[in-house]
Amino acid sequence: MEVVRILGGMSIIQIDHLVKSYRVYQKKEGLREALRGLFHREYKTVEAVRDVSLKVEAGEFVAFLGPNGAGKTTTLKLLSGVIYPTSGSATVMGHIPWKRELQYRRRFALVMGQKNQLWWDLPAQESFRLHQQIYRIAPSDFSKTLDELASLLGVGSLLGRPVRELSLGERMKMELIAALLHNPEVLFLDEPTIGLDVVAQHNIQQFLKQYQEERKITVLLTSHYMKDVAALCKRVVVIAQGEVQYNGSLEGIVDSFSKDKIITLELGEGQTHEGLERFGKIEKILMPRVSIRCMRADVSKSLAQILDGYKVVDVAVEDLPLDEVIAKLFAHVSDPRLNASDTAS
């Protein structure tokens, strides 16, 4: 499944057999157990990241997909140096992240959709000024970059308003500006559109797309919104149970994990749908439209037979919706009892 990439020299992000496990206290229910817990505690080792190896080239926009608790955020935390690994190695732009060298910190940015890095009661502009000092941004670069980012995101008029008075979408835009002021070469985005409405989501997607294309920065994104991923990323890495389950193009996921296609027919007048079930599972009937899910390998054969035996006005053959494939993939990788054929069916 792993896409083998032929690399010249070192990749901008290089992860080799990264493992992160930690102990968590097993708290049991009830007062008696709570009292017992005062003296004797049972710990369980959680393997958040089991064995992740990955290479990302400069200028790539890569999405991390995976169910909750799969190890995506842990991987981003490792790469931004917030935590250090149990074993394995990683470099980002040649730096070992968890050494937390100031030089490294000035070259990347981490945006967490659920965390706020701006001063809550002050206008965003004040936080930006502080960032200018922290990241040692030259005054001319600072105002140029700020103007550019603010106009791209359409928040120029909001810079002077206290952050607490901004909407979630506006705040996220300010967070992005704060993260990009120092022109990071690598950007880690952890669910940047979480909780946003469709319009705000779309705005942020458009901004990220344009920004990344212009600056050619390297971006790693985690998101649960397939639309984000489809709009932004050419490469997708599916992580589940702390391991890379898939690494390749988004379309490739559908090929790899779904062996079905949907044939949608528009039947001619007077034509019934009787007998169509022998070609596959009937997904939806909304006369005169009928959708049949059938094996990819059988599509042409089935289609020929249908066109032969039925009066058909129009026909469309499509892949399964991406969300559905991903959901199935997640369900599969989260439950090891299922085998590969379950995913495919």
């Binding site: 930690y22 958040a48 935590i83 100031l102 910190r105 000024r129 960032h131 000092q133």
Partner: protein
């Protein structure tokens, strides 16, 4: 001046400025909090009057507690208020612990800025904002209560030592409470620890009564503790209770404790980060 020094000074200056701006954002709470601090003066004066009256009902002004007359006691109390205006750090420990628990500390791991230095300069800003507002009321109170200062204004050396002790008590108070907050790396909740500390600090810093009225061996034991420098020491210096060699020794000890807690906060922060990073983040 080298560029890197210049830029690290600029960061501190901006932290200070931004924190000041933040203080101004909470001006209502801030003004009320500042003025409310003056209210306990009245109850304290009445309390000590009652105590001295019970000792010598005919002439309370003649009564003494271990060398302190009623006037001295009120003067002492007013001076500890000044000391505490420097050394008290409301919300610092809980703020640090909350940052650790809620993961806000990540910001300080990702961005090229140091948490303790950041908090220190924010706190300097808080204090500057506080003094700006509180200086006038303080001056008024001292003017109204000038008769309680029976020795008058101290000489220049004593006054210099008083100012130095106030500035150092700020740093000591900051690093001491920062250390308590950093315990949050090991304990989920530090409020009980903070409560115990506050309780000890309340009595043993000299905020409630001058520590030298304690009987031996308590006075000696308390004399070795760092928290006496948070309130008792500056006041005692101003009143001329500590002079000469003893003053030099105490100033030395104050510097020692400040450096000690500065070092301890650094060690705790580094060890805490190692634990935090190893544990899960």
């Amino acid at each position: 001046m080298s560029d890197s020094l210049k830029s690290s000074l600029a960061i501190r200056w901006y932290i200070l400025k931004t924190s000041l701006a933040e203080r101004m954002a909470y001006r209502g709470d801030f003004a009320l909090g500042t003025l409310m601090r003056f209210l306990p003066i009245i109850t304290q004066i009445f309390l000590w009057w009652a105590i001295f009256q019970s000792m010598n009902p005919a002439n309370p002004n003649e009564a003494h507690i271990n060398g302190y007359s009623f006037q001295d006691m009120v003067a002492y109390y007013l001076l500890t208020m000044v000391g505490r205006a420097f050394s008290s750090m409301p919300g610092l420990s809980s703020n640090v612990a909350t940052k650790i628990r809620d993961g806000e500390i990540k910001k300080f791991l990702v961005q090229p800025v140091d948490l303790i230095s950041f908090l220190f300069w924010s706190r300097v800003a808080h204090k500057i904002a506080y003094y700006t507002v509180a200086t006038l009321p303080f001056a008024l109170v001292f003017f109204l209560c000038r008769s309680y200062f029976s020795n008058g204004f101290p000489d220049l050396v004593t006054f210099g030592a008083f100012v130095a002790s106030l500035l150092l008590s700020f740093a000591l108070g900051f690093y001491l409470e920062a250390c308590i907050g950093l315990v949050g790396f090991w304990m989920l909740e530090v409020s009980s620890l903070l409560f115990v500390y506050m309780l000890f600090q309340f009595f043993l810093s000299g905020h409630m009564f001058p520590l030298d009225i304690l009987p031996q061996p308590w006075a000696a034991i308390v004399g070795y503790l760092p928290i006496k420098y948070l309130a008792y020491f500056p006041a005692a210096v101003f009143l001329g209770k500590i002079t000469g060699v003893q003053l030099a020794i105490d100033m030395g000890m104050l510097v020692f404790w400040t450096v000690f807690f500065f070092g301890l906060s650094r060690l705790a922060y580094n060890a805490g980060l190692r634990r935090y990073s190893g544990y899960g983040g």
